[in-house]
């Protein structure tokens, strides 16, 4: 393991989140994994079509699969962390098998468990998350380390037929908590109301 490597990564997660979520429309649906990706998305701007998880570690990617399957006309982006994704690497196989073209999974990979004391994750060691996704059958995968690579990956994330997986190496840095509401029923209902209309709540 190289526990210091991520201290020097170029990309800052809060800026990456802003870039990914800029100029979004109601055809762009977002699920975030628990912890930092939730705070990053909230910092970039709360939105009814973002479902920020506060728990359910390991569930973000397959939540995106269920959503993308139900909404083939919309783009679905799952934005999660390396620790959360490591818990659910089997879901790469599940998702690739379904060939969901409208789903992109993005990992903000700081090689740390950020909420629990910044302990190194397996990606600080030998694990190459994009290679795992590719081996499971994701037709589009990338690892991003620079601003230029992030710009090049944007069309993959936003448009390319997937499923798409992009591992974004981000600096390991302490950041303030920017919290959305933690009322899960509210988060669910506001998402459905915006996407499906008010009758969906009846």
């Amino acid at each position: 393991m190289d526990k210091q490597r991520a201290d020097n990564y170029e990309l800052h997660r809060r800026e990456v989140a802003k870039t990914l979520l800029k100029d979004r429309t109601d055809d762009f649906l977002v699920v975030t994994g628990l912890g930092s990706p939730n705070w990053d998305a909230t910092n970039a701007g709360d939105h009814p079509l973002t479902f920020p998880l506060w728990g359910a570690m390991g569930g973000a990617a397959t939540m995106g699969l269920g959503l993308a399957t139900a909404q083939p006309g919309k783009r679905v982006m799952v934005m999660t962390g390396d620790g959360e994704m490591l818990m659910a690497m089997g879901s790469f196989a599940t998702i690739a098998t379904q060939r969901v073209e409208n789903l992109a999974i993005i990992v903000f990979d700081n090689e740390r468990y950020g909420e629990t004391g910044m302990q190194a994750t397996h990606t600080a060691g030998p694990v190459d998350m994009a290679a795992v996704a590719k081996a499971c059958g994701f037709p589009v995968t990338a690892t991003v380390k620079t601003e230029a690579e992030l710009m090049a990956a944007l069309p993959l994330i936003k448009e390319t037929k997937g499923p798409v997986f992009v591992d974004i190496k981000v600096k390991a840095e302490p950041l303030p908590f920017i919290l959305p509401t933690k009322d899960g029923v509210h988060l669910k209902n506001r998402f459905r109301e915006r996407l499906l209309g008010p009758d969906s709540l009846l």
């Binding site: 728990g55 359910a56 397959t62 939540m63 699969l65 269920g66 909404q71 379904q98 669910k188």
Partner: protein, 173 residues
């Protein structure tokens, strides 16, 4: 015991009535006939999982997107779901689990005992409403009631399909 799973078409009919579109599963012999029927149905997407907990988050995502999902799993797989049920519980996502039971009746394999006997208390500890059925002609309506409540309230519901409903598995002995 029903050798031909005569109740399986009853479950399929109920899933059609309930407009279930996503069928998430880790296979079990007890679900094989039902799965074949779902796979032959173009309005249903059958989704094999690598572990059962994926089905909990998948079901939540389906509901966010306006579709209904069901999970088919064996009792041993319930154990793999426990923390992920927090998602359905906290957000009141509908959850419908159809669980084929082990370690209840003429079980050959003692390794099925801990989770077989732990299935109901584990689900109930997580707030899931559990209903067991052991009469073949009651299976369909039991699933209907669980499904109507799961999607309608919404609520979390598990139907335990008693091992008497399945042929005895003897591993060739």
């Amino acid at each position: 015991m029903t050798e031909n799973y005569a109740w399986a078409p009853d479950i399929y009919d109920v899933l059609k009535d309930l407009d279930v579109r996503q069928v998430a599963y880790v296979p079990d012999a007890g679900h094989a006939r039902l799965l074949k029927m779902c796979e032959a149905d173009n309005a249903m997407r059958c989704i094999p999982l690598t572990t059962e907990e994926e089905g909990i988050s998948l079901s939540a995502g389906a509901w966010l997107g306006g579709e209904r999902a069901v999970m088919l799993l064996q009792s041993s797989g319930v154990g793999n779901c426990i923390n992920m049920i927090s998602l359905a519980n906290t957000c009141r996502f509908p959850l419908l689990m159809l669980v084929t039971m082990r370690a209840q009746w003429r079980e050959f394999n003692p390794w099925q005992k801990p989770m077989g006997e732990g299935t109901r208390p584990a689900l109930e500890a997580m707030g899931v409403k559990v209903t067991q059925v052991d009469e073949p002609d009651q299976v369909g309506e039991t699933v209907r009631s669980a499904g109507e409540q799961a999607y309608g309230w919404p609520d979390m519901a598990a139907v335990l399909l008693h091992q008497k409903l399945m042929p005895v598995k003897t591993f060739g002995k």
